[in-house]
């Protein structure tokens, strides 16, 4: 008996050799599985996975875009705010300067007016004093002359008369 015949005879009982019916069912099952999976069952799952990946990616992209926009908006707003603050500060400074200028102007005008009035008052005062002195002098002279004429009954010479008046005026002036 040769080896081939032995193998053939042992065929169904040899646990190492594949059995025909098992190969047949295995082949049918595996080829069906391969074909149905590749053509029918697999593509929708793969497609959905890819769609989901694309969707998530696009959502991330959109979120990034919105965030960038918000950042831009914020920067814009902050820039405007800073601008408004400097503008406000500038306006306040200007107003302060204007107020200061007005104040100085008024003060200068007031002082000028004050000085003018003072000068005028001094002039008036001096004039009044001059007038009063002249008046007093002429009255006193008259009085003194009258009184002296009555007392002395004789007229004084011009020099003594003037000296007498001056002495009197000095006395009166020092009493004032």
């Amino acid at each position: 008996m040769n080896l081939l015949l032995l193998a053939a005879e042992e065929g169904p009982n040899n646990p190492i050799l594949p059995a025909t019916n098992e190969i047949i069912w295995g082949a049918i099952s595996f080829f069906l599985l391969m074909v149905v999976l590749t053509k029918v069952a697999y593509p929708p799952v793969r497609k959905a996975m890819e769609e989901r990946t694309a969707k998530i990616q696009s959502e991330f992209d959109a979120a990034d875009k919105v965030q960038a926009e918000a950042a831009e908006l914020k920067a814009d707003y902050e820039a405007k705010l800073a601008e408004a603050k400097t503008e406000a500060a500038r306006i306040i400074d200007e107003a302060r300067e204007q107020a200061e200028a007005v104040r100085k102007e008024r003060l200068a005008a007031l002082e000028a007016e004050l000085a003018e009035r003072k000068a005028q008052a001094e002039i008036d005062l001096a004039a009044a004093r001059e007038r009063a002195l002249a008046e007093t002098r002429s009255q006193l002279a008259g009085l003194a002359v009258g009184a002296a004429e009555r007392i002395v009954e004789d007229s004084l010479d011009e020099a003594r008369y003037a000296k007498l008046v001056d002495n009197f005026i000095d006395r009166v002036g020092s009493q004032n």
Binding site: P18, A19, N21, G26, F30, T38, Y42, A48, K55
Partner: protein
Amino acid sequence: MIFGLEFPPIEKLVEWPSFFGGDAWYGLNKIGLSALIAMVATIAIYMAAGSKYKKRLVPTGIQTVAESGIEFIDNGIIEQTIGPEGRPWNPFLLSLFFFVLITNLFEVIPGWQMPGNARMAFPALLAVLVWVIFLGTGIKYQGAKYFKNALFPPGVPWALYFLVTPIEFVSTFLVRPFSLAVRLFANMLAGHILLVTFVVLSEALWIKQWYAVFLPLPFIMLILLTGFEIMVSFLQAYIFTILAAVYIGSSMHPEH
């Protein structure tokens, strides 16, 4: 009889009678049925997942299973072996992975307890299919140069080709499908026999004798090994798929 134990002959552990058809070529037994169930289950998972997307794009339940399968093949297998241009291989590798995984998992399903790949039929079938595919891919991508690149790797001194070329021929065109099939088959058969061994030991100690106190030992071992075999089922499905991807990848890019 080993130490008074009645260990069943190996044929009894792996050969199953047909539900119908008898010994005919179309006879459907436990092994064939596990392949059919693997096919139906995988298609059902993806059909159910695919039909749910019309309502909402956010994955729940079965969609998570379907998607993690696809992503596992994408990131865990294709990216590592072929690169991003290998994406179109995803459905094929996915079929391979789920088919091997589910037929493997019948090893631990109570009442069934027979891994489909502990028979040579599926591993041999799939290995030959992978062999045909990576040869076809090589010819499609590189034409006749594929054989030249595979048998005469560039950068080797010419005298060494007397040594290298026969080795490359044997390893690429003969050993690849053989090792692919035998690795899966032997691992699952070994796991199956291991589980049967501890079942037989536990059963032998299920007696009214004083040494029945040793029953927990093989039984705990049986439980632990069942968990281990679940891991092996995943691992072997992963190894089979990633090696298929490696072979396809090496056909797409010439060796450096």
